[in-house]
Symmetry: C2
Subunit: 322 residues, 2 copies
């Protein structure tokens, strides 16, 4: 199990996009040096099970058992459950593989027996041999609601069932205001050994904003003495995976790296964007790093992780917090 005291890096991440950089950080850092706070705004109850997609994507990714083709779920997966469920008239729009189902069934059983999502996740990651600490942003239910031009939907309804087709108007994070921030987050920030907070290249609106909506997160990040560095999920006006660019267009924002930096505003002390977008750097009022942020393979992930860490060290030196 990872100790908070040894952590040098605190990463904030959603699922697929963010997990790529989180994996890079995981691989270049030593044991217990990484803490990842995961979005749970897209958790939901489905088939009577507590589904926690971002936590699981990060967990499977660190354990090396993630499905590289889909970006979610497990490798070497089978789909007998979904086929049989369809035969019995069950809902099949949200695909749960047979192995993935074990995570969801066992988590649900343990949550119902009184354990916390943090506790169950810690045990699962430990059993899977993961040497980083992975925690949900909160153990309380937060549910992302999507207001679209066709009306309001729960997140997975919008994201999976409707494939993000209806144009978005706004997002709401039900339960966030009364959610208790995972204490590991503040413990990590209070640890003198922590060197950087990394906001992974996840969708700002549906992966990072739910975390920022939990009371205490924004202030803690602003007040923390060290550098908070965000990595742009937008490269050349497009999102590599997922609907980030589409959403920005629908929200009336330019789909640019610069607009992502503006979105995070005073929260961040440094911004990492792709060399393709170097012209955008001029529009960003904080220090920037232009580098290759397109992570096609494992080497790319590790290289970007090192770039981000070096950039953060540079920011520390410049601000005198070394």
């Amino acid at each position: 199990m990872s100790e908070v005291g040894a952590a040098q890096v605190l990463a904030i991440s959603g699922g697929i996009g963010g997990a790529k950089l989180a994996l890079g950080l995981y691989r270049v850092l030593g044991a217990d040096e990484l803490i990842v706070v995961a979005n749970t705004g897209d958790d939901f109850e489905h088939l009577g099970l507590h589904v926690s997609p971002d936590v699981d994507t990060l967990m499977y990714t660190f354990a090396g058992i993630n499905n590289r083709r889909t970006g979610w779920g497990r490798e070497d997966e089978t789909w007998t459950f979904m086929d049989a469920l369809g035969q019995l008239g069950g809902e099949t729009w949200f695909r749960l593989g047979d192995g993935d189902l074990a995570t969801n069934v066992e988590r649900t059983r343990r949550l119902k027996s009184g354990e916390s999502l943090t506790g169950v996740t810690q045990d699962f990651t430990s059993r899977l041999g993961i040497h980083a600490r992975l925690v949900p942003m909160t153990d309380d239910p937060v549910r992302t609601m999507v207001e679209t031009i066709d009306g309001q939907r729960s997140f997975q309804h919008y994201f999976v069932k409707e494939s993000c087709v209806p144009a978005v108007v706004a997002f709401r994070f039900d339960g966030a205001q009364s959610a208790r921030l995972n204490p590991v987050f503040l413990e990590a920030l209070n640890n003198p050994g922590l060197r950087v907070v990394v906001i992974c290249p996840s969708n700002p609106f549906i992966s990072i904003d739910p975390i920022l909506a939990v009371p205490g997160v924004r202030n803690a990040l602003i007040e923390w003495h060290g550098p908070v560095v965000a990595v742009s999920p937008i490269i050349g006006g497009r999102s590599i995976k997922g609907p980030t660019a589409k959403m920005m267009n629908e929200l009336g924002l330019p789909a640019t790296a610069g607009a992502v930096a503006t979105h995070y505003g005073e929260l961040i002390d440094g911004f990492v964007l792709d060399t393709t977008d170097s012209s955008q750097a001029n529009n960003v009022e904080i220090p920037t790093l232009c580098t290759n942020t397109l992570m096609k393979n494992l080497e790319d992930r590790e290289t970007l992780a090192r770039d981000v860490l070096n950039f953060a060290e540079q920011l520390r030196q410049e601000s005198g917090v070394v």
Copy 2:
């Protein structure tokens, strides 16, 4: 959906052994002519799921998707869930295949949403194209408890986890006294078209007795004007499948077909035993039919079903209830 009014045969059955004859009856009878009341004494909550083994064995058998090798579960099954569950430290002693899991997850979800086990089973069987009515003995929880020389166990603990090793002393059916009998049972008996009640060759102690323990069953069978025919699960002093003979030895009973007839006593009007056991027929005070009761293939199942139905017709004629 099968209508009670069309039913000519009411079968009482547990899982594996009983399902063989139940399938024979299903195949030789026309649509809606068979009603099967299934044991739910070995139902249990496992992994947060409502598992109903006998109902499912009968359902899969009628649908032709049962696993012929194991006698339980589904054919063409995969086991990715169990493997992944083991990785996460979950309990793996009760084997739930990936397809079987769909039945259990969807049933649990629907039961929690307020549907009855009868209702869910009716919908599942209808979706699987089954043209018989399959009902649990009750929608209320009845749990078979096994008193052994090593102490008391819940049924699946004894049956699966301990492979029936500890010698049995007695059985208890927790909840049976307050369980409400499935109304389909009495409706079927009150239907003037019903010609026979068949007690399938299931284990009398753990598959049939739980059904008989539900208030109203014994009296209704005794008072019913038509023939109640039981088929012996013991052939030549051995149980073909399962621990029936072992249990009879442990309970101090002779492991014979005759002892099974004695166990049912006044409940039955006719008894079917294997030709191997023809000498036993002399010890049985009610009419008997000696025939081949060892069901190795589908033809055997259908032949025995026809033999049982013909025997019942003969009993009806002899007693003048035709």
